[in-house]
């Protein structure tokens, strides 16, 4: 009975894997079939590629340069009031959709923003424009500096407490401590952090779309979107998509071999007792960096809230366009999140079954089973190789011969969003399911608990929470996404981000601000629900 159940699970896992490969493979095949000619690598493509790499390099460098002193200040001043809230603020940017954050950044740094008003007051004639390279860098640093700082802080907090006692005992100064203790800890993390940030910036779509402003500041992904939606130039879109895949593929390979993935670890305000950073000068320096970071990260959020409150929210939520967008968003996000979680759970379990020693058959065909398990592991990050816009472009071209693309649009958007969330869902579910399996699988097998009973009594109660967390996280990602919907959106398929983007485009800024506040709040709550879970000790404290 249990052997049959295992076979069913493996079949379902194989089916999921096949579905993913088919979905990505068809998109790739469509592009290859309609493939572009040779002369396509023209000056435009070259310029777009160069700009993509340039902005990603600059964004990465600036994020890391800003993150180092901030992380150091947070590590060194381990007890100031509000430190926990500062840490929470640093986690906030990842919880809001890029589009909402872009709006907040425009409020602060844009032509009508606080910064330019301040500059005008000091008599500066030429206002700074947020559109172009400056805005892109700003937005990327806004998203990635806090991420880098949190990863560095985790590294600094992993330094053994004895180091601080020893350094205090030896009388090491602030500079010596940085050189010999802090910097080596950070340096070890830098390749991983820089790789991650570079990858995020090189594949950033929404921020470049909203803040790029024209062909001079366009990345490959935005160029794909423009080639399909505006110029209708499929060969160019295909060439660009190929370029993007080569670029992300190279980056992923480099990340895999050069840089170990950074670990998040505990940053939840665990106070490590340090004896340095007590001098007036170092306190002042730390305070300056923390205040800078506070304003830099916090002000766009304040702007989103204040201008959102100024919008006529009560009228906005009664508008039929809003109702439709909300319903569309729910109809897209719910299925895609459920598909994502189901596929991830099935594939994780299949992988475990294939590699576990409990199936006698394993010994006979070990190699195929290993390959299968490996393919499952790789497939969850396949979508990193082909970002949503690239996948969308493939399906756009594939479906065009079958009539109006809009007819298929909802399904394609659901599938792309599900795939997009897969790596993140996998990261939430895999450790929880692995430790659950380690605790229960032999026990359940030895007692003969299988099938529905196993699901109901053994698996569901402890896995309910991680499953809901993963679902919530996937919902937040799907709800806030503008990548797939930018290609397929229309009057009939308008999600909240799409509505927000079109209101921004038609200069209805008050409406946009209100929508941004609503969308940002929904996504933030879902992300907090999706990431706030702490792992409990399985059988209570060890006695």
């Amino acid at each position: 009975m249990i052997a049959r159940e295992n076979r069913l699970t493996i079949a379902a896992g194989g089916f999921s894997l096949g579905g993913i490969l088919l979905f990505v493979g068809l998109a790739a095949a469509a592009m290859l079939a309609q493939g572009g000619g040779d002369g396509l690598f023209d000056a435009y493509l070259w310029r777009v590629t160069r700009f993509t790499l340039l902005q990603a390099s600059l964004s990465t460098g600036l994020s890391i340069l800003f993150a180092i002193p901030v992380a150091r200040a947070l590590a060194r001043q381990a007890t100031f009031p509000g430190r926990v809230w500062m840490l929470r603020l640093m986690a906030l940017p990842l919880g809001v959709p890029a589009l909402v954050a872009a709006l907040g950044l425009i409020e602060v740094w844009g032509r009508q923003g606080d910064l330019n008003r301040l500059l005008a007051a000091t008599g500066l004639a030429e206002p700074i424009s947020i559109y172009g390279l400056f805005g892109i860098l700003l937005a990327h640093v806004f998203f990635n500096m806090p991420l880098a700082a949190r990863l560095m802080l985790a590294g600094l907090e992993r330094i053994p407490a004895e180091y601080w006692r020893t350094s205090a005992n030896l009388g090491m100064g602030s500079l010596a401590i940085f050189r010999f203790i802090e910097w080596p800890a950070i340096r070890g993390l830098l390749p991983g952090i820089a790789g991650l940030v570079f990858m995020l910036c090189a594949t950033s779509f929404t921020l470049v779309l909203t803040l790029g402003g024209g062909p001079a500041a366009s990345t490959i992904e935005v160029a794909i979107y423009q080639a399909l939606r505006f110029d209708f130039d499929p060969p160019r879109a295909i060439a660009l998509a190929g370029l993007q895949i080569v670029l992300t593929g190279t980056l992923l390979l480099m990340l895999k071999f050069v840089a170990p993935p950074p670990e998040e670890g505990e940053t939840s305000g665990k106070a490590v007792q340090r004896f340095d950073g007590r001098s007036r000068l170092s306190r002042l320096a730390d305070r300056i960096w923390l205040v800078l970071a506070l304003f830099f990260v916090g002000m766009p959020f304040v702007a989103i809230v204040t201008s959102g409150m100024q919008a006529d929210l009560s009228r906005l939520v009664r508008e039929s366009a809003f109702h439709q967008a909300l319903a569309t968003s729910a109809l897209v996000a719910l299925p895609s999140a459920m598909i994502s979680v189901t596929i991830a759970a099935l594939m994780i379990r299949t992988q475990r079954l294939l590699l576990a020693p409990m199936i006698p058959a394993r010994r006979r065909h070990r190699m195929p089973a290993r390959l299968f398990a490996g393919a499952i592991g790789a497939s969850t990050s396949l979508v990193l190789l082909a970002p949503p816009v690239v996948l969308g472009a493939g399906w756009f071209l594939l479906l065009r011969p079958f009539g109006d693309v809009a007819r298929f649009a909802p399904f394609v958007v659901i599938a792309i969003n599900a795939l997009m969330a897969l790596p993140f869902v996998h990261r939430v579910l895999a450790p929880a399911m692995a430790s659950h399996a380690a605790r229960t699988e032999r026990l359940a097998a030895s007692l003969g608990i299988g099938g529905f009973h196993r699901l109901r009594w053994i698996d569901w109660p402890p896995l309910r929470k991680p499953l809901f967390m993963a679902l919530s996280f996937a919902l937040a990602l799907s709800l806030g996404d503008l990548g797939a919907i930018a290609l397929f959106g229309s009057q009939d398929l308008a999600t909240l981000p799409w509505l927000l983007y079109s209101r921004m485009g038609s200069y209805r800024t008050a409406d946009a601000a209100g929508l941004a506040l609503i969308l940002g709040t929904i996504c933030l709550i879902l992300t907090i629900l999706g990431t706030a879970g702490e792992q409990r000790s399985p059988e209570g404290p060890r006695t």
Binding site: L443, A445, I449, P461, G540
Partner: protein, 237 residues
Amino acid sequence: MSSVAVTLEGVKVRFENMVLTFDCTVEAGEIVSVAGASGSGKTTLFNVIAGFEAPERGVVRVFGEEMAGRPPAERPVSMIFQENNLFAHLDVATNVGFGISPSLRLRSADRKRIDEALERVGLAGFGRRLPPTLSGGERQRVALARALVRHRPLLLLDEPFAALDPGMRAEMRELLADLHREEDNTILVITHHPEDLSKLSDSVLFLDKGHIVAHDSLDRFLKRRDIAAINRFLGNE
């Protein structure tokens, strides 16, 4: 019933960097201590008998019956691990109840059996408690209660006392010996402590580097001086 509980003939298990071979015969009704350094293959031996590991070759017989292809739950074997013997989110009575029905279809007579088993291990009235609220020793006793209601003639215990303090170990040893007398079952127990071995067992299986190097009655085993690994284990220098 056959008077032989376990027979392993030419059993071979291959891991990436190690090949283990097992040959032995365990008499029914004995308590056998299984000892040896970490990594000598004690747990693998148990996994082969319980059906968690399929041997590459060789025959495993339990009470005369060939075990090949039989899933763990259908073997006449109960197993207790060092930890994680209980489902932490289900109460004690439910955990014991799985020993009667893996689908938890329990009649009132079954509930009575659960209560009796809990009483027998000294945990009367603990039925509604959740495992995290129990001490390590209490959790192991719940696992014993489940083995009691499950009534399998062969009981495998993989370092069941490892997480317990010395006083509790002695208590658990006595309980185990009492249950053994009442049930008349066969018990294999992995242990690192010469004291467990000398107070509990009728005979000793000793493993070294993936092979069974000694299988003696307790008296003979304690007198052996010819194998270095045994000397190290017993502290004879």
